[in-house]
């Protein structure tokens, strides 16, 4: 049985679960049972030889709808898609479990979208983020101490959701890297945001140093994965670790302030929800109706969390502005 390697992007998981996943992930690579299957390979070879050479290729390219060509679907990709379903059909007919192909479950392709449910969920997350960013900008005055940092955080988040949407639409070498790297960037920026809120308002030097450190960590992380080896196991471990730091920092701070800040529960709830929902990633099952898989369910479930998080940020920014006006020292 092939190890079902969950394709996690932005991941923050409890420690024990992380350890299990790490052990599982060490054996899994990008090639899975499905594409190692001789039936599949022969099918692809035959298809490419007949349909993707010479005059047939030109015919394919000129008759392909523009949106398909625009999203980079080549003749070979189409062959792989058709042969994947042939193989799945055979497996199911013989009573075997559905195999994975290239580290992913088989999904029905809708228009040009490779994983339509995940792509839609990412898009909705991005829209929620955008909506709440605009709401933040219209509610909170510019003079609030955290205004620009939170603005920047919104942009980093939006960027990550954009690349997640693009990646789930069309999985290529470049889009995968962009999705993974941008997700890491969000977690790191979230740590920076927490640092500014908890320490940086009174000691800006500290948050600058932490910021520099985080940039260094990010650059090293990306360099390692780009120039040395794209190691899924390491990537997962790195994301989990920084996710843990992020979660603990936010949670400790808001728990400490539960008596002074009336809106502290929003922060605590966001942290708990995000990490709890991430557990959904573990339920790795073949997609329902060949569309809905655990990853898509996870992304869909995090959409309301944006509203709660930004509501917390708005409350907090307005509180900071008021305490600044009154001359009260900020905690």
């Amino acid at each position: 049985m092939a190890s079902a390697f969950p394709r996690c992007t932005s991941v923050r998981l409890p420690m024990s679960v992380a350890v299990i996943l790490l052990l599982m992930s060490v054996t899994a690579v990008q090639s899975s049972q499905g594409d190692k299957e001789p039936v599949y390979r022969d099918c692809v070879k035959l298809c490419v030889r007949t349909n993707c050479t010479g005059a047939r290729l030109l015919g394919f390219e000129s008759s392909q709808p523009h949106y398909m060509a625009l999203t980079g679907w080549t003749c070979r990709d189409d062959c792989r898609y058709q042969c994947m379903w042939t193989t799945v059909g055979l497996y199911q007919a013989e009573g075997y479990r559905v195999p994975q192909f290239h580290g992913k479950w088989p999904f029905v392709r809708i228009l040009c979208f490779e994983e339509p449910a995940s792509a839609l969920a990412s898009l909705l997350n991005g829209l929620a983020c955008l909506l709440m960013m605009l709401r933040y900008r219209s509610t909170v005055p510019r003079q609030s101490p955290m205004y620009h940092t939170i603005n920047a955080f919104s942009l980093v988040s939006l960027n990550a959701w954009l690349w997640s949407t693009v990646f789930h639409t069309r999985d290529t070498f470049l889009t995968e890297k962009m999705d993974y790297f941008c997700a890491t960037a969000v977690i790191l920026y979230s740590i920076y945001l927490c640092c500014v809120r908890t320490l940086g308002l009174r000691r800006p030097g500290v948050s600058s140093m932490v910021g520099a450190l985080l940039i260094l960590a990010f650059t090293s992380h990306v360099s390692y994965l780009t120039f040395i080896r794209f190691d899924y196991g390491y990537n997962m471990a790195a994301n989990v670790s920084i996710g843990m730091v992020n979660m603990l920092w936010w949670f400790c701070w808001c728990w400490q302030n539960r008596r002074t800040l009336p809106y502290w529960w929003k922060c605590g709830l966001v942290v708990l929800l995000l990490h709890g929902l991430a557990l959904l990633e573990l339920l790795d099952f073949p997609p329902l109706l060949w569309i809905l898989d655990a990853h898509a369910v996870w992304h869909l479930s995090t959409i309301p969390v944006h509203f709660l998080f930004y509501s917390f940020l708005i409350d907090d920014s307005l509180y900071l502005l008021n305490t600044e006006k009154l001359g009260v020292k900020v905690e």
């Binding site: 390219e61 000129s62 392909q64 523009h66 060509a69 625009l70 980079g72 470049l174 120039f227």
Partner: protein, 373 residues
């Protein structure tokens, strides 16, 4: 490590469609192809433009300005006041309400007088009409010459008449001398604009202008490297087609020749809106899909073109707003993008006079001090 980085960034599969690569662009059989080191020529060209511009502005633009009657409106200067001046220079040109109140207490002037002082002081710093005229006339001259030279060079090329031919024989289209010079001169001009951005008149759409210049420079340089030169020359021609009209309209605006300005502006608006942007984007974004599978370079170039298209649409919006404003019935013409001169009332009190609670009567006064640029 660096060589690995270099390999990765300039990989064939990123910049060329499947099956082609940098080797296809090596010179052979006496045919010349664009090379990376050709781009170094841009720097001396940009330097020349900066020098020529200074000479032009002094020797041609100034006399032209006098000829056309460019005159600056008399501005009321803010009376010297060291406390307010130091706040203006060191803290902010637009003080908050709180700061105004504290300054009012410090100087003994009323809040209204402090506000007026800042308004006048801000107006003092605004560039004169003459400077704006000089800048506009330089750009007008360049765009005029560039457009007609480009037209002369492109009118006999087959891809001018059938856009799809820009990709004929790609990537092995040999370089023509005219294309080399057209590219270098345009690129040099935009680089010189970026260099002079610090001293140029800063307009309301400053950010959009910078984005436009950066996108243009990226497009021109990268398209040179991968031999998209045919498409590039067409795009530059389309771009220059309306620019010289816009700059001449601005020149007449600064000179006060209202009717001429309105007329030219309407022509400019028409040309700007109907120039075949969509045809170009079809040729670079849609048509190649039927020829080659997509690659990073495809998204990169079309992405930059889309950025320019969005800026185009933004400016079309501004232009239409202006055109509506000076349809018969509304007399005012101003450059939508220029920062507005703040209206002055005729009250001449400065901060040494005692406060008195007079009412501001602005009607007849505002008529004389119409917002004009």
């Amino acid at each position: 490590m660096l060589s690995r980085l270099n390999e990765l960034i300039w990989a064939d599969w990123i910049w060329f469609p499947d099956g082609y690569g940098w080797d296809d662009l090596k010179d052979h059989d006496g045919k010349v192809f664009p090379k990376t080191r050709d781009l170094w020529a841009v720097l001396p060209v940009a330097l020349c433009f900066i020098i020529i511009r200074q000479i032009f502005e002094q020797t041609i633009a100034l006399p032209l300005a006098t000829l056309l009657g460019v005159r600056d409106k008399h501005r009321v200067c803010a009376s010297p006041n060291p406390v307010l001046e130091s706040h203006f220079c060191s803290k902010s040109k637009h003080p908050t309400q709180g700061s105004i109140e504290s300054l009012s207490k410090q100087t003994g002037c009323s809040v209204r007088q402090v506000q007026r002082w800042f308004r006048r002081r801000r107006n003092e710093d605004r560039p004169s009409k003459l400077k704006k005229f000089q800048e506009a006339s330089w750009r007008f001259t360049f765009y005029l010459l560039a457009f007609f030279a480009g037209l002369a060079v492109l009118v006999n090329k087959p891809w001018f008449h059938d856009v799809k031919l820009v990709w004929e024989n790609f990537p092995k289209m040999p370089l023509l001398t005219s294309q080399y010079w057209y590219y270098m001169i345009e690129l040099g001009f935009y680089v010189s604009l970026i260099f002079s951005v610090a001293s140029d008149v800063k307009r309301k759409d400053f950010k959009e202008q910078i984005v436009h210049h950066v996108a243009t420079i990226l497009l021109i340089s990268f398209s040179w490297l991968v031999n998209y030169i045919r498409a590039g020359t067409l795009i530059m021609l389309v771009h220059d087609a309306s620019d010289y009209l816009m700059e001449s309209a601005k020149m007449f605006n600064y000179a006060g020749w209202k009717k001429t300005c309105n007329f030219i502006f309407t022509v400019f608006a028409a040309v700007f809106i109907i120039t075949p942007w969509m045809m170009i984007i079809y040729a670079t974004g849609v048509y190649p899909l039927s020829l080659y599978p997509t690659f990073f370079g495809f998204y990169f170039f079309n992405g930059l073109l889309v950025v320019l298209l969005i800026l185009h649409i933004f400016w079309t919006g501004l232009i239409l707003r202006m055109v509506i404003k000076f349809l018969p019935g509304n007399g005012i013409v101003e450059d939508e993008r220029s920062d507005k001169e703040e209206t002055e009332s005729d009250d001449e009190d400065d901060c040494s006079k005692p406060k008195n609670g007079h009412v501001q009567n602005g009607h007849s006064v505002l008529h004389n001090h119409k917002k004009r640029d």
